[in-house]
Amino acid sequence: MDFYLNLINTIGIHTMLGLSAYLLLQTGQLSLAQAGFFAVGSYTAAILTVIFQWNIIPAVLAAMFLAGFLAFLVGFPALRVKGLTLVVATIAFSEFVRMFFYNLKWRVTRNGEEIGPDGTMGFAEIRYFSDNGWSNLEVTFFLWTFVIIVMGIVWWSDNSRSGAVLRAVGEDELAASSVGINLTVIKVSAMTAGGFIAGLSGGLYAHQVTSLDHHSFTVLLGTFAIAYPILGGLSNVFGTLVAVIFIQGLLVEGLRFLGDWRMILFGLLIVLAMNFKPLGLFDKHTIGIIKRVIRV
């Protein structure tokens, strides 16, 4: 049971990570900066609960706002460029953040033990959950309240005018601006929203794994962040969830019994998925099938 809950938590965290990239992807911008925001979120929340002994809720909220604000600041210069340049710029950004935490040393002594981020040694013993006797089930409920709230908000904005505007920008920037849409504002707000979500999920992630170091926040994390929405399809938020279940549930955990061949299959299945479903596993075609299935 414990194990399934843990898996569900992981899925929740990664779903939020994916959704943080989802919004910006709709505007046609490909950003790998999510890893950076995620890192900022997780370190901030962890420092707040471990060093300043905050309660976890304000801690993750603070993490969320900090990451969101950072995204806002990064958005303006970053979104002047697009395409490959944006990809590289955002990779560079998240590498920069990673190197910042990799050099961050902030040790305080509490009842005889040194705690806090310790540069390349990482940041161990973020044990808020177990110290406060949270059962894994409680953790799951706690975590998924956030996931559901986030999914709800994204779903809602997706079906409101803002969603339409985001997609419009993604489809034809010239036409969008000539019906009066301010591209910069739209893109930057999408990025900021993404930053908020990434920061939130990072804050929760830190307490889930109890130990952070720079290895967790490499470019690969950013790649996964965009992989989920792309693999799932940008038609709606459940695509991302489906993709996360596909990757975390199926490829990473589900295929364990394959031993050495698991990771080979991992890459292979991603390639196949993109070849057979370039618009995502959860594209209109799939949705159509599902609708029929439900009707039957």
Partner: protein, 424 residues
């Protein structure tokens, strides 16, 4: 949402498949589950440790197995060896899986320090602390050598040489063995926690302690107190360090060449250690002594740069010097693994488990699982000394830090050769 539940169902089914179906074994047996990196760059860790663990267990069973609580002898059984890929999230998932879905008495893994740091954090900190909802599962790690991990949880155990004493002894011996070596310098890979902290906080300190003279960038008062002047050292020697993934070591090598020391410390894993030593060779840097990091006392170093590594001296927790060690070495090599300081720990762990089980009177029944694990943990904690492959393993009950015999090996003509055994 039907499709979702379907997909969920499918993946859960697969996950269920992936769980060792230990229930089907009728005869009572003592179950353990291991894990390590079986994918990714550190794959060799997992492969070697699995080979060692499985063959050690086979040995134990052919010798009659383990005595259970009811006095009967039962075979020991490795119900699986999972791939944690040296990633925190995966290791934690496996840990929870082992604890909640299998009836393994103990989890045996892993080798990567960073991963242990995360896994141990998930465990309950203090055994009797009921307010702590951490996982209650004894973990017996092979290596996880990074200093200070033991204190994270009382459920966590490591079988690892104590690097502090290891290097302490090493330099003490070098002092006498190489009287003409006076000065030293060196470098490390800063993105690998273990390499870096060991280098700055231990290796350099111990060298200074035993009267070697640091000729690197000026650092106020290094050693002999452990960690003394560590920060200054880290700051000062920045530009003679490197990263694990680096490709160009010219600058570092030249900095070190200029210092022209008698002894050079190369504190990093084979990946970059080899690159750096090759660059040293190119720039014709020939120190009187070359000292390395424990982790590179392995086959990988020979694969990577046999000739450049010629002459490097490394303290390690394993070498085929005793009959047992030789025997184990042969068996494991037949099983397709190499026995080095990491995997030899896995071998010894199997025997540690046997001993602890026989102390703890394990019933090995599903209904007694929790109790068994707890007893096992206490028994394991109470073991202060155990016969290892090359000498006694000891463990300091108060700090939880393990002590393990070690020898000094050197690359001679492309082979690891034991040059000194402090215990003898």
């Amino acid at each position: 949402m039907k499709h979702l539940s379907k997909l969920m169902g499918a993946s859960l089914l697969l996950i269920a498949l992936s769980i060792p179906q230990s229930a089907i074994y009728a005869a009572p047996s003592l179950k353990v589950l291991g894990w390590g990196a079986k994918s990714g760059p550190l794959k060799s860790f997992g492969v070697n440790s699995e080979a060692a663990l499985r063959s050690a267990v086979a040995e134990i069973n052919s010798a009659g197995g383990v005595r259970m609580g009811d006095g009967s002898m039962a075979p020991m059984e490795v119900i699986g060896y999972e791939d944690s890929a040296c990633k925190k999230d995966e290791a934690i998932a496996i840990l929870r899986k082992t604890a909640s879905t299998t009836d393994a008495i103990v989890g045996m893994g892993t080798t990567c320090s960073g991963v242990c740091q995360a896994m141990f954090g998930v465990l309950q900190k203090k055994v009797e602390d009921t307010s702590d909802s951490g996982v209650q599962m004894p973990i017996l790690a092979d290596t996880c050598i990074r200093p200070g991990l033991a204190k994270i949880s009382e459920w966590s155990f490591r079988n690892v040489p104590n690097e502090i004493t290891m290097y302490d002894e090493l330099f003490k011996w070098l002092r006498t063995a190489y009287p003409n070596v006076k000065t030293f310098t060196g470098g490390s890979e800063t993105d690998q926690g273990h390499s870096f902290i060991t280098y700055t906080a231990i290796i350099v300190q111990m060298a200074v302690k035993h009267g070697f003279e640091w000729v690197g960038p000026a650092v106020p008062a290094l050693g002999p107190k452990v960690k003394q002047g560590m920060k200054e050292l880290q700051a000062a020697a920045k530009s003679q360090h490197w990263l694990m993934g680096d490709t160009n070591y010219t600058v570092q090598a030249r900095k070190i060449k200029k210092q022209n020391a008698d002894m050079i410390l190369v504190a990093s894993h084979p990946f970059s250690a080899c690159g750096f030593m090759k660059e040293m060779k190119r720039q014709r840097i020939k120190p009187k002594l070359l000292v390395g990091l424990t982790s590179s006392a392995s086959q990988e170093t020979l694969n990577g740069c046999m000739s450049a590594a010629e002459g490097i001296i490394i303290p390690t927790g394993f070498a085929p010097i005793t009959p047992e060690a030789k025997k184990a070495n042969n068996i494991v090599s037949k099983a397709g693994g190499f026995l080095d300081l990491h995997s030899s720990a896995a071998w010894e762990n199997a025997y540690l488990v046997k001993r602890a089980v026989e102390r703890a009177a394990i019933m090995g029944r599903p209904d007694t699982l929790q109790q068994d694990r707890r007893n096992f943990r206490n028994a394991l904690a109470s073991i202060s000394s155990q016969k290892g492959l090359i000498g006694p393993l000891t463990r300091d009950g108060s700090t939880g830090e393990a002590e393990k015999p070690y020898v000094y090996v050197q690359v001679v003509n492309g082979k690891w050769k034991v040059i000194h055994d402090p215990n003898s």
